[in-house]
Symmetry: C2
Subunit: 411 residues, 2 copies
């Protein structure tokens, strides 16, 4: 029978335990929302102060060369690459996930002329669907956004499909697609495959090369801990790069941006997918956060992720039985990302009550309690404490308080 002491003992033998010190977590919270915003890396305040005071303040414009700002999108991309099974020169950090998705979808449609369908799923993250809708409306031709449930995707892949665009790990439930199988099915249908790795990079094993994925985008501020609104990333497989053209052809994607030519000529390689000047302060915060991953064993990350999420499900189902919770995540860890979600009819208020007790997860409409378990800094004892707090709140109906039902702008 798992008790709190067992959890503390597991933390003592956890091979990743030392990584918690790479973050500056407040002492009074159990932070299970790193799938939404990762915590502050311990080195970051000093690193960013140097960027601000020495690089910007003293170096001024010279830092574009002297501090290597101009190379940051590619350099940061190369730090992300090993976390997603990509090679050097296949990833760039830039813009937001939404903007990058627009670039890659537009480029994908261009590579499959005559095909008129973007295939996705109804429960994809909304911004992905919105961006598809915006692109299709702009093109004002015969394009279509087709949505198929995960188990019907293969059936929906006919020869009208130009690109299959899915989020690898579902933001609500943590359900994880079989990347290799879905990619192979897309290719069999003659379509390109685009993965949104927002809830995958830094959380679950991703091997874009092994899956032969064509395109990917992802987020810098969740499991990569780059700070609020950190630049996102994009991936274009080496094989596709020379023929790939995206429409946000800003000057930093030009082959020679400082020649100030009148006509656009795309840079070689991944660089042609850059657009405007990147937000350097946010970019170098992400750069700093990525250094934490340098010697991390990704297999150990996955093992711990599975153990933490299994443990949370076990404890919650044991201690909150009959209290209105229903598991919304796959029970099979092989199909699950690094998060666990439960449905509760008063989910919003329950989450507010938890947050008031220092256990920070989040709520997703209409009824989901969402808990992220980032293996770099979450301990087994945190899992215990979160489950115990949840059980207390439900048992005492502590959530049934008008103060916890007041909706904030950001849920």
């Amino acid at each position: 029978m798992t008790d709190r002491e067992t959890c503390i003992a597991q933390d003592r033998t956890d091979p990743l335990a030392g990584l918690r010190d790479a973050f500056r977590l407040p002492g009074d919270v159990t932070y299970l929302d790193g799938n939404s915003l990762g915590p502050l890396p311990a080195d970051l305040p000093e690193r960013l102060a140097d960027v601000v005071q020495r690089q910007w303040g003293d170096g001024l414009i010279r830092s574009w060369n002297d501090a290597g700002w101009i190379d940051a999108p590619r350099r940061v991309g190369d730090k992300i690459a090993p976390l997603i099974g990509a090679g050097p020169g296949e990833v760039a950090a830039a813009d937001s996930t939404s903007v990058n998705l627009f670039k890659l979808l537009a480029g994908a449609l261009r590579l499959r002329p005559g095909r008129r369908v973007i295939l996705s799923e109804p429960e994809n993250f909304p911004t992905d669907l919105y961006i598809m809708q915006g692109l299709i409306e702009l093109l004002d031709r015969d394009f279509e956004l087709r949505r198929a449930e995960p188990d019907r995707l293969a059936d929906a892949m006919d020869d009208d499909v130009a690109v299959v665009a899915l989020t690898h790990v579902n933001y609500k439930t943590g359900r994880m697609h079989d990347m290799a199988a879905v990619t192979a099915a897309a290719h069999d249908a003659g379509a390109l495959m685009l993965w949104d790795l927002a809830h995958s990079a830094g959380a679950v094993p991703v091997d874009l090369a092994a899956a032969q994925a064509d395109l990917a985008v992802g987020c810098g501020y969740k499991y990569l801990n780059g700070g609020p609104g950190a630049p996102a990333f994009l991936y274009v497989s080496r094989a596709l790069q020379d023929e790939f053209h995206q429409p946000l052809s800003g000057w930093l994607g030009h082959i020679s941006p400082f020649a100030f030519e009148s006509d656009y000529r795309p840079a070689d390689g991944i660089g042609r997918n850059l657009c405007g000047t990147p937000p350097i302060l946010s970019m170098l915060a992400l750069d700093c956060a990525l250094d934490i991953w340098r010697d991390v064993d990704l297999a150990a990350v996955r093992n711990k992720s599975v153990a933490l999420t299994d443990l949370f499900i076990e404890l919650v189902e044991r201690d909150c039985a009959g209290m209105g919770l229903e598991l919304a995540s796959p029970r099979d860890a092989a199909m699950r990302g690094s998060q666990v979600s439960f449905r509760h009819s008063d989910g919003y208020a329950v989450m507010q009550a938890l947050i008031a007790q220092g256990v920070i997860g989040d709520f997703r409409a209409p009824n989901l309690l969402r808990f992220g378990f980032a293996p770099l800094y979450i301990r087994y004892v945190d899992v215990w404490d979160a489950a115990a707090a949840l059980s207390d709140i439900l048992r005492n109906r502590a959530w049934d308080d008008p103060a916890y039902k007041q909706r904030a702008a950001v849920t």
Copy 2:
């Protein structure tokens, strides 16, 4: 006859002199490149440290509500508005200038169905032209980028023109368009008018409302001093907002982003022009930098800008006569932004020699020496010192050194 003492005396009576203390400028440089990257605001290191450590580190995900991160694009936009003659709710800070230009051009074409021309000028900033090219190529219909020289623009405005898109102050020469006259001509032709204010906001008087301009974009890191790659801004006139639809329809432009609906419904007002999650560290650096403008008299800024640039032209033409320089900027201050450019056949090496002496301007291919005069922190004595250094370098041919001819990545 102007001498260094005269300049020092002018600084003593300069009504804006005190604003220099709002910046942390290195003691050993004369910084005439604020038109490319503004200097570090003195308050910024402390403000940003608070954002990083208290808001992100302690507040974590809660700061989206508690620290008002979610409102930052609109709040920062409202701080930019008075600098460009816009009202509250007409400006948002977001993305890069290039991305914002794509949004607004695409939205403009949609509002003028049947018209197939984007009208610009050959010497517009390249990223503006590249973005127009990328959009037109994506649309793959009968659209055209038409380029007309500034004095031929009116002739080029036929009833095929959907939108006239120009940069108000030319990045090379500082030549300034007559915003009201060009906008009126565009409207007479039935076209929308879009201004790129990258070299205008914070440098010269801009009154979008008085000019009845429809759309504008601009830069946060030049005269607004928001830091390297700071978020850009966009403006959509109140009158146009309800009917305006842009294709980068990411979740932060949704009317209810945290309802996570399956279909895009645009937010009311300027908010529908947002796309993905903004880079908060860079955004709040810009927010801090904008506070410097709170009580600044914009008429005094213009007066000083004209005086500084007139003085620089006077001194350089007096002290560097016959040394191969040719004025590339309008001599008439009424047609000039807050910069002065001179042509020199060895311009790159001359600028490197100047920078080596601590006078930082920049070079623009093929032969332009570019000097920006930001009235908030540039003194009359700086103008004197820069002109004196330039004259020394040319007289002694100090630029004629292989070290100064080695091109860096960023020029």
